[in-house]
Structure formats: structure tokens, C-alpha cells
């Protein structure tokens, strides 16, 4: 039974709960036990609280029927979401002792849906990283090979689901932080259109790029999770007022006639051969499903990484100014005057990558450089967005690799920031444009490591993307595969 439960889809879990084949307490206990057993080797969870989780599960079991589609199912939150009464660290020493006094909107929504919080998931510090090596709490290991990175920044989320420590998790994506770890750990992860999911209570990295999304085993699971996550929030000015959608509504639509755009820029040099070969096979699968592929061009996409590394650090440098040791969080034990308190607190509380980005961001916004860097990058951002809107005149979705390589070994890129930044070369442009993007497992590359296929949709086209992913997952079983060592 436990084997079937850890591999079950959310719909199956929901049915089992409704039919009383299993209680929420039993299901929660099952996952908490797996966390206790397997997490020490993975470091995916950085906080669990058995009593809190079980109290929620008991409440879910006691609720009158009928319940919603996610009621009683456990999930875990990336530690970037403020969760009332839980330590919310954002992977940083700065917030090592920060017990959040409120719930993020996303957390609130999942609570309202009756889901049980399993714990808080490790991540790159303040979501700045592509390998989870920047976490103050130590790196997360990839369940497919613990000598390799899980990707980042939502690496804890990806590893937890991949190892079946949680049936689902929240993630956030500023430049690929849902899609790249989903690809590297063999999961399905969706970054919605900017503004679809509230950012309230999600600790900001780069406000104009950050977007939360679901991570799970399948597209169908992601659709159900997105149904609970999405929606207008009056507490977030950038949250969009749109009618509620059922993101699962089109899952079963046939794909005949679907036009898949293949940008030449995503299939050039820089992609590893194993990834290329795996993605090509997936595209053939789509052709078998009746889709047609169209060559398109995103001429400015090569500029997305440099533009991103101006815009994101600029916003981050300002967003992270509130961590000053005055109202919450870390304060240096010894200091002289006020400025010394600030400088020591921030020097000791932030890790190297975060400091690097704060300094870059401070520099590009500083007097005399704003136009040359920040304004220039914003103009290029416009060019990149226009490329996409032109492309979507010729196709319905865009496909390509989610990551140029499979999961790499620890330390392989950490000495060279720019090499690390290029891990997100295929994902960053959608954040700049505000578009939805997802990654689905499409096979295995070198060393039997998972490869992710990226699907980019038009603005607000999440339901179609989920349909495109779901139809593929009806034909293939990559998304049901589980790392051998995690059984």
C-alpha cells in the first residue's frame, strides 16, 4: 500500500481519502516517516514539525464530506513562503531564527484547500542559485545521484518530490528556479504567467520576475495544484484580476494540429548532445500525437542572461535592504556604531552569492551607471518580449530543452558565477517576458540522469500547456519513474 501511495497521483490520493481507504493522518505519517528515513541523505527538508502536520491532518480527517480535490493531501513549501508559526529562512543565516508571523497567500490558499503542510524545503539562499549549493543549510542532493546537484533554486522541492518525500510542493521561479530543478530531478514543474499567482508572503528576490508555481510528478497534478494557487490577491498590486480558471479543463483535448515552435536559438551550440538527442525523441513523440513543428526565431534570446543579470540583481539589491538587523532576523553579535552594525550584520548574515548579487545590483543602479546598465537591460527586456509575441503568431507553444545539461556534480560550476548563470540560458527569457513555462521529464541522458523538455506558452495559456504536457504523459512513462535508491 505505501508504495502505491507514494507513487499515486493527486487524483488517486484524493479518491483514496474520500473512500476512506486511507486517512490524512496515515498519509501524512507515511510521508513524515519517509522524510525521517531519507532526508538525512538528501537535505531536501530544512524544517519539519510532526505535531503541527498531524494536527492539520486530523482536522482534515474530521472535516465534513464532500471535500475539495486536494483535501487531506500533504504538500511541502519552499522555504521562501512565509508560513505562520514555522521558521521561514529563505535558505539564509539572515533568517535562521525567523518564525513567520503570517501566512503567504499561497500558503493560505493551500490551507483553505485542506492540504497538510509537511514541512519547509531547502533552497538556494534567497533563491539565488541554480544548484542549491548556496543554501546556508547545506546543498540538497539529487535523488537520482547524490553526488550531483538537484538544480536550483527550488532544489529542495524537486528532490523531495523525486524521492517521494512529498506528493507535491511549491516552488518559485525567477529565472528558471522551478523548471531547471524539475528537469534535473525528473519532475513536472510549471511557472505560470507573471501575475497569476500572488507574490504576497513570498520573500522577494526580483519582484518583476518572481512567480510561484506548482511542482509535482505530472501535469495533471500541477493543474490541480495551480487551481488552488492561482487567483487575484488584493494584497499584491501585480496580481491580475482575471476570472477564475479550471486549469485541468483541457487536459484531455487531442493535440492534432498543434503547432510547436522550435526556436533555432534553443537548439544551437551550448546544449549537451545527450540532452539534444533526448529532446529530439520527445519532439518525435509529439509529431506522432498529431502536432506539427514550426521553425521560429527568438533573435534576442541570447541577450536574456546578461539582461537578467542586470535586472534581477538590481531589484534584489533593493529588496534585500530590509535585512538590516533592526526588526527581525540576524544581528551581528558585536559592532560599533549604526553603520557598523548594518555592515557586519549583512556581511555575516548573507552568503557569498547573495552578497555578490547585492553588490552588482547596487553598482548597476548607482549614479552614472543607471542608463548604461539598468535602463539598457530594460530595453532589451522589451526586445525579448516582442520576439515572443511575434513567435506566437506562428505557433501555439514553444518547445526546447529546459537545461543545457543534465544534473552536474557538486562544485562543477560554483567557482565560476558566469558558468553557473548560463545553466538558466533556456529558462530566463520567459521570466523577462512574463510568459508561462514548464518542464516535463522526457527521458534520461548521460549517467541515467533525467532530461527536461521545456514547454513555453503564450501569456495566460497555462491550460493549453498542461494539456500539451498531459497528452505526452499519457503516451510516455518518464514522469512515473522513481530513483532506484529511494525505494
Amino acid at each position: 500500500m505505501s508504495d502505491s501511495m507514494i507513487n499515486a497521483s493527486l487524483r488517486q490520493l484524493s479518491a483514496a481519502l474520500a473512500e476512506k481507504k486511507i486517512s490524512s493522518v496515515e498519509l501524512t505519517t507515511l510521508f513524515l516517516d519517509r522524510i525521517a528515513q531519507l532526508n538525512p541523505s538528501l537535505n531536501a527538508f530544512i524544517a519539519t514539525d510532526r505535531e503541527k502536520s498531524l494536527a492539520q491532518a486530523r482536522a482534515a480527517d474530521a472535516a465534513p464530506q464532500p471535500c475539495g480535490a486536494l483535501h487531506g493531501i500533504p504538500l511541502a513549501h519552499k522555504d521562501i513562503f512565509c508560513t505562520e508559526g514555522w521558521r521561514t529562512s529563505c535558505g539564509s543565516k539572515m533568517l535562521e531564527n525567523f518564525i513567520a508571523p503570517y501566512d503567504a497567500t499561497v500558503v493560505e490558499k493551500f490551507k483553505a484547500a485542506g492540504m497538510v503542510t509537511l514541512g519547509k524545503l531547502n533552497m538556494d539562499e534567497f533563491a539565488m542559485g541554480s544548484s542549491n549549493e548556496t543554501s546556508y543549510f547545506g546543498a540538497v542532493k539529487n535523488p537520482w545521484d547524490v553526488s550531483r546537484v538537484p538544480g536550483g533554486s527550488s532544489g529542495g522541492s524537486a528532490a523531495a518530490i523525486s524521492a517521494r518525500l512529498a506528493p507535491a510542493a511549491t516552488g518559485t521561479d525567477t529565472g528558471g528556479s522551478i523548471r531547471q530543478p524539475a528537469a534535473l530531478c525528473g519532475l513536472t514543474g510549471l511557472k505560470p504567467t507573471y501575475g497569476v499567482v500572488s507574490r504576497y508572503g513570498m520573500i522577494a528576490f526580483a519582484s518583476s520576475l518572481d512567480q510561484a508555481g506548482p511542482m509535482a510528478k505530472s501535469a495533471e497534478d500541477c493543474a490541480l495544484l495551480l487551481n488552488a494557487m492561482a487567483g487575484f490577491d488584493p494584497r499584491d498590486s501585480t496580481s491580475l484580476e482575471r476570472p477564475a480558471e479550471d486549469y485541468a479543463r483541457d487536459l484531455n483535448q487531442p493535440l492534432a494540429g498543434l503547432r510547436i515552435g522550435l526556436p533555432g536559438e534553443f537548439f544551437g551550440a551550448g546544449m549537451d548532445d545527450d540532452v539534444r538527442a533526448t529532446v529530439e525523441v520527445a519532439l518525435d513523440e509529439y509529431r506522432k500525437l498529431g502536432a506539427v513543428t514550426v521553425d521560429i526565431s527568438l533573435p534576442n534570446s541570447g541577450l536574456s542572461v546578461p539582461a537578467y543579470y542586470v535586472i534581477a540583481p538590481a531589484e534584489a539589491s533593493s529588496n534585500l535592504s530590509r535585512f538590516d538587523g533592526v526588526r527581525y532576523g540576524y544581528r551581528a553579535p558585536e559592532y560599533g556604531d549604526l553603520n557598523d552594525m548594518y555592515a557586519k550584520t549583512r556581511a555575516q548574515g548573507f552568503g557569498a552569492e547573495v552578497k555578490r548579487r547585492i553588490l552588482i545590483g547596487t553598482y548597476v543602479l548607482s549614479h552614472g551607471y543607471y542608463d548604461a546598465y539598468y535602463l539598457k537591460a530594460q530595453k532589451i527586456r522589451r526586445l525579448i518580449a516582442v520576439d515572443f509575441s511575434d513567435a506566437f503568431k506562428k505557433c501555439d507553444v514553444i518547445m526546447g530543452p529546459a537545461s543545457p545539461s543534465v544534473a552536474f556534480a557538486f562544485g562543477a560550476k560554483s567557482a565560476d558565477p558566469v558558468q553557473m548563470y548560463l545553466s538558466d540560458i533556456y529558462t530566463i527569457s520567459t521570466n523577462l517576458a512574463g510568459l508561462p513555462g514548464m518542464s516535463i521529464p522526457c527521458g534520461f541522458g548521460n549517467n541515467n540522469m533525467p532530461v527536461g523538455l521545456q514547454i513555453i506558452g503564450n501569456w495566460f495559456d497555462e491550460a493549453r500547456m498542461l494539456n500539451v504536457a498531459h497528452q505526452y504523459q499519457q503516451m510516455t512513462d518518464w514522469h512515473t519513474q522513481m530513483p532506484e535508491g529511494m525505494r
Partner: protein, 95 residues
């Protein structure tokens, strides 16, 4: 343009991040590598292109002028490093 150690000190002071001399040197190299990478933006012709500050092209929503928040000082100050009489304490500020 590349940064020297004085530039790095100035930026670090502006950002309120203390750097030791050794950190300054290492940071200088890393920042220059990153700036070198983003320098490719300068070659792009962006004349007449409107900067894009937001991912979505909508205008600010307007909140009605209503008091909706209640006093939660005790909960908020439970996580504060140094408080007294309801005030957050910091090293003495001289104006």
C-alpha cells in the same frame, strides 16, 4: 569599464556589506567577470525602444481608503533582536 578595489569598497559601503581586504580583492575579480559578461548589452541598438519595467502591461490598482489592519506589535516584536517599551532599539543615531 572595470572596477578597482576602491570602487568595490564604495559599492560595499553603499550596500552596507563589510568586506575584508581579501574579500575585496576576490569580489573585485568576480564582479569584473560578471560586468564583462553583461557588457555585451552595450552593443545592442536600443534606440527608440521603451524600457520594460514590468512583466505585464497594466496600471496600478487603487485600494479604498479603509483601515484594515489591527495591532500585532507583540507578535511582530517577538522576532526582533532588541526591543524596549515597544520600540526597536539600534545603536545611538547622531543627527
Amino acid at each position: 569599464m572595470s572596477l578597482n578595489s576602491q570602487d568595490v569598497s564604495r559599492i560595499a559601503r553603499l550596500a552596507r556589506v563589510e568586506l575584508s581586504a581579501a574579500e575585496n580583492a576576490a569580489t573585485c575579480d568576480q564582479l569584473n567577470a560578471i560586468l564583462g559578461f553583461i557588457a555585451q548589452l552595450q552593443a545592442v541598438d536600443t534606440d527608440g525602444i521603451e524600457p520594460m519595467a514590468h512583466a505585464v502591461d497594466v496600471v496600478q490598482r487603487l485600494r479604498p481608503d479603509v483601515v484594515s489592519e489591527t495591532d500585532r506589535r507583540d507578535a511582530f516584536q517577538a522576532v526582533a533582536p532588541d526591543v524596549e517599551a515597544g520600540l526597536y532599539l539600534v545603536p545611538r543615531v547622531i543627527e
